[in-house]
Symmetry: C2
Subunit: 328 residues, 2 copies
């Protein structure tokens, strides 16, 4: 029940006609034992307390599915996914590297797939990015194409209106040297998931990737013109991040991804250019909101995960994604 998990809880509680909340887990001792409603920022108690572990949360309770929102990194979340699988629970997770774990760590991915099949559960990584904007949507946009030579995807976000932790991850306000140092020592990871998005997109088309090249996070330098004074960045300091990734198929750069997130980006958009027969050029403007989008993907995919065959699946294996908003 961090930032995203708390949003999941709040929106899940509005879906009582198909969701029943049976527990919440957080490793933070400051949250354990408190009422879930209090922890997720509701003004009312929900009559459930936050547990320190999944085992404790499930004591005396039955559940179908875990919405998992802890870390971006596959190795870190693997023990948590294993525990959920051993409890016979399906998992829908926002872990970026889980969106296409066969890219990140094929050995671990195969181990999780075998475990999921043995326990009869489904595990899916999804979210807005990876999970939608730079992989699922571009894949769908190739469906009406007879041939595809190349796919270029750009997601451009204005970091002004985002959460503080998100801006901090982008190095907003640093000088260039501080930024480069933070990239070197891993404090700024850039956007996690570009390699996964390139791989998931290629896999959806049955393209065999020969190489995936993910560039280091590059600083976008402020011109000092951002209008919002609250988040304005001094000219010459870091306004955010630019990052690129390419996928090589049959010797050529068939997939090219560009991720831009900085304070003062004037136009926000998700642009997909399919150079194919026919050409398909699609623009979502403004770009799909990251936090709302991720929470929505988790909740909307949950019923589809429950209906899917066991295994470690990716979005390309799932039935058509869409909002799940059953009329009463």
């Amino acid at each position: 029940v961090g930032a995203i998990g708390s949003m999941v809880v709040r929106h899940a509680l509005e879906r009582s006609y198909w969701v029943e909340l049976v527990g919440a887990v957080d490793s933070d001792p400051a949250k354990v034992g408190r009422d879930v409603g209090d922890v997720v920022g509701l003004r009312k108690e929900v009559g459930l307390t936050v547990s320190a572990t999944l085992d404790e949360a499930l004591e005396g309770r039955e559940a179908d599915l875990v919405v998992h929102t802890t870390s971006s990194f596959l190795e870190k979340v693997t023990p948590e996914l294993e525990r959920a699988a051993e409890h016979g629970l399906d998992v829908v997770s926002s872990c970026e590297q889980l969106s296409f774990p066969y890219y990140t760590n094929p050995t671990l991915a195969e181990r999780l797939d075998l475990l999921a099949k043995r326990e009869g559960v489904t595990i899916l990584g999804t979210g807005i990015n990876p999970g939608f904007a730079m992989d699922v949507l571009p894949a769908v946009l190739t469906a009406p194409c007879l041939n595809v030579r190349a796919i270029n995807v750009t997601r451009k976000m204005d970091a002004s209106n985002r959460r503080v932790p998100f801006r901090r991850k982008l190095g907003v306000g640093m000088n260039v040297e501080e930024f480069r140092e933070a990239v070197r020592n891993g404090k700024i990871t850039g956007h996690v998931g570009l390699g996964e998005s390139v791989s998931l997109l290629a896999s959806a088309l049955s393209w065999k990737l020969e190489e995936v090249r993910v560039g280091e996070a590059q600083p976008v330098i402020s011109l000092g013109k951002a209008r919002d004074l609250r988040t304005a960045v001094e000219a010459g300091r870091v306004a955010g991040v630019k990052q690129t990734a390419v996928g090589v198929v049959e010797g050529r750069q068939a997939i090219s991804h560009t991720f831009l997130a900085y304070v003062g980006a004037r136009e926000e958009y998700d642009l997909v250019e399919v150079d194919g027969l026919p050409k398909v050029i699609s623009k979502i403007s403004p770009c799909v909101h990251g936090d709302f989008g991720t929470v929505a993907m988790l909740l909307n995919m949950a019923p589809k995960v429950l209906a899917s065959p066991p295994g470690l699946l990716t979005m390309k294996d799932m039935v058509l994604p869409s909002a799940f908003l059953p009329s009463l």
Copy 2:
């Protein structure tokens, strides 16, 4: 092997690494008995002749799937689908009303579903529209939404560059009285599939449609300004068609579709506006090409149809649509 079927054959022959053409069927006596390559406009023979019926085409041959491109109307194609199912063949069809037959004719749809399950085959209706632009794509664009109040979809096409039969179906060049008369006597049907698209989209979201209202085809009147002299339409005559459809959910117009196809339309696009949390506004410009798009949807969905469980399925039941272009 009409216009669309011939394109399917030509592109299927380029996919010899996963498609083997085993036969072609046409009811036109002028085509029966001729080499398929000749009939579909290739300069080379392919060593197969066009058969008058599916039964004849299958004599002494094995097949997995029929790509079916005969008529827009469910009642007309039902005997053809039944014969394919009795032969144990999966079907992917461009029949517009088959894209959501539970709207068109629920009784017939259930009969076909039962037959498909009994014979262990999958039947799918798809194409660019219905099948993608005004239903599948809008559904996918709601996936990152926590709530959806309304969805507006507009497809606007310039009829100048389209096939003559397509322009004829739009009444291009008629005067308004001739157009109205042609609508009354069924010679101009407008776009077939708007009601199916509205229903498929609602079904994907699990919205319960209370009513679908499909308007009559309305004439778009030429201002006499179309630049292409070959297709220019005299001012005051019909340049093409406008048609709308709405879907009512919980008492309000939750879905609104507008289809525009006329000579001289200045900007061609597929616009989807999801009024939700978050808002998602997507524009594909120019709109996805109709003929290429339909042929691509048929060929790209074929392997997914082969891998699907038996039954009469719709695009919302299928795994993520995308181009299928396996690297060699």
